[in-house]
């Protein structure tokens, strides 16, 4: 890094952004549209550089980069551009008899200066997607990309500096020191994507300034597989969702599978077969799979895999290459529940399968653990789908597919409990960065004396009648008949 980010830089940054925000420039529709269009230009004109940066940081296959980062962003920006006017329009609210005569509306206003701290696994998507929300809502924004994807981080800094309004949109690169300095500032919102451990630190820091937070965390997202399913499609979708999405390094990646004892061998066979179709005989050589991000994470995953009573549960894969940061797609059968692998989010290419006697026992397994970001179910049994949706708490639930809900802007994306708080995507992104201001327009007419002191028995009776909407009683009191 060329220059060091110091405490004075942080305060200067805040002063400059505060000045821009206070000037009102970011509130205007034109500014929001122009910045969104600039983000679109970044996607349209710089895709090859983005693909190259992602290849450098994660060996991410071109298709994955092109689709899950650039194309998703492009859709997200286009939707914001198309819907911005609708999102910004005040919502009319109905007023009641008590406040009559009046009209009311809910106005979406920007929160002010917001901080987006993103993650290394989808460095472009997870940086720019929240920024789209922040800009759409009219905020000034600082982005802190992850230092663990350095090429992506510096490309983001370069492109955003080149295209966006520097008086209101900034990128600060760096690691713990820089983040700590940033967290000491007073933000109007903090949007964080990452681990629950850091999520706690973010929220604690935010508490000092009463700053609201959105925390997009992860968790162990389970996949329940019923025997009443299309085995081939199920196997393919699980593989695409696990190894085909950044090699398991995704927050909505399938973390473990739950299926019955009888069905597990069939599922394993199908998955082995499809894995070979996807990645060839030697998956370690495949160009269609990302690598592990760095040696720390490689070692963390190795440790999980080498644990006693885990290493002998491998039914597929298990090969490792530390030098190239590669681990083969690995499936394990019935690892101990208290193993490291079943206690932490795996975030890598290891996929344990747990077997249960009765499929519904799997519900108890899931419910006994922290709430995951996603819960998946493969079945054609309608009753089972219904029970799963009703009894399993998770950020989101997908039946018969993996991870695709992420691409749907009509669904809120976000966790619950250990998997996070707050949601975004589509209009939910706009809402995440807006304050919903209640506005009531009152007229001077109809000023009822019961509102004011001196109080009397009559006023009390009238109030009671009003609360119970007892019109007859209201008239009686008003006419002095009661």
């Amino acid at each position: 890094m060329t220059k060091v980010f110091e405490a004075a830089d942080a305060t200067n940054l805040m002063t400059e952004l505060r000045r821009s925000f206070d000037s009102g420039v970011t509130r205007g529709t034109e500014w929001r549209v122009s910045q969104l269009k600039k983000l679109l230009i970044i996607c349209d004109n710089h895709e090859p550089e983005i693909v190259a940066a992602l290849h450098h940081d994660l060996a991410k296959p071109e298709l994955e980069s092109s689709v899950y980062e650039v194309a998703l962003l492009r859709n997200s920006i286009n939707l914001a551009l198309k819907q911005l006017k609708v999102w910004m329009a005040p919502d009319k609210a109905k007023t009641s008899l008590t406040t009559f005569p009046a009209s009311a509306e809910i106005v979406s206003e920007p929160l002010g200066i917001v901080l987006v701290i993103s993650a290394w696994n989808y460095p472009f998507l997870l940086s720019i997607d929240p920024v789209i929300g922040a800009i759409s809502a009219g905020n000034a924004v600082v982005l802190k990309p992850s230092e663990l994807a350095p090429a992506s981080s510096s490309l983001l800094a370069k492109l955003m500096e080149q295209y966006l309004d520097p008086s209101a949109v900034r990128v600060v690169e760096g690691a713990v020191t820089e983040t700590t300095l940033l967290l000491e500032q007073k933000w109007d919102k903090i949007f964080y994507t990452g681990s629950s451990k850091i999520g706690r630190i973010i929220m604690t820091a935010a508490a000092k300034h009463l700053t609201p937070v959105v925390l997009e965390l992860g968790g162990k997202s389970p996949v329940v597989v019923d025997s009443n399913t299309n085995l081939k499609v199920t196997a393919k979708r699980i593989i695409a969702g696990k190894w085909g999405c950044n090699n398991g390094q995704a927050c909505i990646s399938p973390d473990y599978i739950l299926t019955t004892k009888d069905y597990a061998p069939k599922l394993i066979d199908a998955m082995k077969h499809e894995l070979e179709t996807f990645y060839g005989k030697n998956a370690m050589e495949s160009k269609d799979m990302s690598r592990i991000v760095n040696s720390n994470h490689f070692d963390r995953l190795s440790k999980m895999l080498e644990e006693k009573e885990v290493s002998d549960k491998i039914v597929c894969g298990g090969q490792k290459d530390r030098e190239n940061l590669k681990i083969a797609p690995t499936i394990l059968l019935d690892v101990p529940l208290d193993s490291l692998m079943m206690s932490e989010e795996i975030f890598g290419p290891l996929l344990p399968i747990l077997t249960v006697k009765d499929l519904e026992d799997s519900f108890d397994v899931i419910r006994s653990r922290p709430k995951p970001l996603a819960a998946y179910l493969f079945t054609q049994n309608e009753k089972l789908k219904e029970r799963f949706a009703m009894t399993i708490s998770a950020g989101g639930i997908v039946v018969n597919d993996i991870a695709v809900h992420l691409a749907l802007p009509t669904l809120p994306f976000g966790g619950v409990g250990e998997s996070g708080m707050g949601s975004y995507h589509g209009k939910f992104s706009f809402d995440a960065f807006s304050h919903k201001k209640a506005v009531l327009y009152k007229s001077f007419m109809g000023d009822s004396a019961i509102r004011y002191a001196p109080y009397s028995r009559g006023k009390l009776r009238l109030l009671k009648a009003l609360v119970n909407t007892n019109i007859l009683e209201v008239f009686k009191v008003l006419l002095g008949l009661s």
Binding site: T99, V404, L440, F444, I450, A453, Y455, V467
Partner: protein, 485 residues
Amino acid sequence: MEAMKETVEESLREMRETFASGRTRSVKWRKTQLGAIIEMVKDNEDKMCDVLFQDLGKHSTEAFRDELGFVIRSATTALNCLDKWVVPKKTSLPLLFYPAKGKVISEPYGTVLVLSSWNFPISLSLDPLIGAISAGNTVLLKSSELSPNASAFLAKIIPSYLDNKAIKVIEGGPDVATILLKQQWDKIFFTGSPRIGKIILAAAAEHLTPVTLELGGKCPTIVDHHSVSKDMKSVVKRISGGKWGSCSGQACIAVDYILVEQSFASSLVDMLKPVIKTFFGDNPKESGCLSRIVSKKHFERLSRLLNDPGVKASIVYGGSMDEEKLYIEPTILLDPPLHSEIMNEEIFGPILPIITLRDIQESIGFIKSKPKPLAIYAFTNDENLKTRILSETSSGSVTFNDVMIQYMCDALPFGGVGESGIGRYHGKYSFECFSHDKAIMEGSLAMDLEARYPPWNNFKLNFIRLAFREDYFKLVLLMLGLIKK
């Protein structure tokens, strides 16, 4: 305190068990509890008015208007609307995903904690409870120790009306709150000061618990006398009602101070004086219509604010105090020093500073220079000023030509921003406040596109690109082999 810790843990265990049993999820259970709240308030109107009088000297009419009646209405709304609120929201999906279905269902968080406040001890306890119950949670309420009679009454009466395996009350002060905050909750709802709000938020961070903070702030009231001159009588009545008529200014949405043009300030004072007399008579202390200050500590805080020499010199009306009766007369200040404590902390009492400006447009800058308040009130018919207030300032809510009434409008979200809080409630927003919006998507196993899966090639890349753009025409051409890259 060790015993209290055990009680809390035992209560929490029982509430978690109840929640896990699924009982509180049923709409029938929720409705039964909401109905029981209405019944509880109706059966105990007199007793509730009594405790509010004991704790705050609140007149029964005021008590009914601001608390009992409010709770009955809130519970009735929830009861009537619940069937509508719990319906999953269907969402549309792009054609490409056909025949997939998407919906969002509101699910209860689990076991939630409600920490309420002493100024409206009945409504600020029961109103969040209504939200928590509507959403299907089990809930523990800690009422405020500063309104001991109301607190004791709620602790006694709630178990006899509501399902006490799911809804519990614990009484106590900061030490009990500390014990409660160490536990893991699925949501915390707090009403009170920003100072305690920060403590709550930091404690919640430990367990990643989402929090709603209903705080306060200095709610300014702009009086643009040019455009409302013919309605000035209503203006002063409404302001007086909003300052002294609701718990004697001890309300988070009370009028904190007035902004008015210099030329009109003395007329405004002259118009406020007779309204105070009409409301509270010649001797407000004996009128029975003015609530008292809640505690000795708060009385001392207010008298300290008032005794600042610069502030004292600015008194133009009232100013008398009676420590024994915890009474402070409705008091008006004209231009107290802006750096004084009274102009920099929430007053939360019957003192009304009037700040004069040369031009009423300056009120925008004045408000912007302070932390974001819970509410802004503006008496004006000047459309330009209205627009400026709406677009240039930030606050929980804005009410034009009235005060406090936004609280009664359950179609509007109630809550702060910045220093005045996080999150919102009332009406449907209370239900949402205690619900997690769970996204559910159901795909089809029958339709499976090969282009979704590796090994990757150019055909698949183009296919997916077009699919994302929803360019179905080109997609068909691509599949027919009519376009190539």
